[in-house]
Amino acid sequence: MLKKRAKKIWVSASDVGRAAFCPHYLELKCKGVKASHQAEASRAKGDASHDQLNRMAQDKRCYIASHLYGIDDSRTEALRSFRDKNLLNHRPGKVLVNIYYRLSPTLVSISSRISAVDQCLRFIVNGIVKRLLENIKDD
């Protein structure tokens, strides 16, 4: 005898979220009840916000080391570790890190357009990384 296979009911993440909000809400939705005008307006506003989010997310912003070597590179990690262990422990270091975070997106953006700036940045950061790695080796 062939067993009749039960038809799989696919559920969407938004509906599962709605069930967590209020199961009766989901029941009404599935029964085809129309959403209020206010809710429709909110949805349209939400869609527009999502478009804005996408634009924001696709904007480039990474810091100098991530730009030069990549986010997970060992040299970037070394610089991060220097920041966390040596700079963020005292007030002047924190100020320096804040200034760096304020300036670096601009520098990254400029260096991705002007190769001379990129080379100059690479030269400076390579020097810093080299010294850092030497210090780590000595320790």
């Binding site: 696919w10 938004s14 209020c22 599935c30 912003r61």
Partner: protein
């Protein structure tokens, strides 16, 4: 002395103006401040959702970033105020769906206009499914036409899209 001071002040002002001009021209800031590489974006209705065949769920987060050890899913809510349980459940379900399509989602981030919160996900799909199973069951029941309980609340009912039809609505 005053001349030197004025010269210094003028130079500082010129530097600040120059920096802000360059800044505005070159930089489009990512206000999300997420460290990671953007690997997937929900472009709206034309973007197909992810399917997890094992658990029968589908969905899509708003964004996905490659982070150390896996993928970070991002769910954005345009409203102001706190993050609700329903936002967390929805993102967990979307993450489970994305896992079915090969994205190893290990964390997720829920953002509202005023709040931002990271959550870690269980390693196994089964454990993740278990966390949201009651809501998945409710959803299947609703799709089969069953009656479901209401969980009214003053603020919840105020924002509900079906409050004008609901008999359980809680008013002020």
């Amino acid at each position: 002395m005053i001349d030197e001071l004025l010269y210094l002040l003028f130079s500082a002002a010129a530097l600040v103006i120059a920096f802000y001009s360059i800044d505005r021209k070159f930089v489009k800031k990512n206000k999300l401040c997420i460290e990671g590489k953007l690997v997937w974006t929900d472009e709206g209705r034309q973007t197909k959702p992810f399917f997890n065949n094992d658990y029968g769920v589908l969905g899509k987060p708003d964004l996905m970033y490659k982070i150390k050890g896996g993928i970070l899913a991002v769910e954005y809510k345009s409203r102001k105020g706190e993050i609700y349980e329903s936002d967390i459940v929805q993102t967990k379900c979307a993450s489970l769906a994305a896992r079915g399509s090969g994205y190893k989602v290990i964390r997720f981030l829920v953002i509202t206009s005023t709040q931002k919160q990271y959550y870690d996900l269980p390693r196994s799909d089964k454990a993740l499914y278990k966390e949201i199973e009651p809501y998945i069951v409710y959803t299947r029941q609703a799709k089969s036409g069953s009656k479901l309980p209401a969980t009214p609340g003053r603020f919840k009912c105020k924002s509900c899209a079906f409050n004008y039809k609901c008999t359980y609505v809680q008013e002020d």
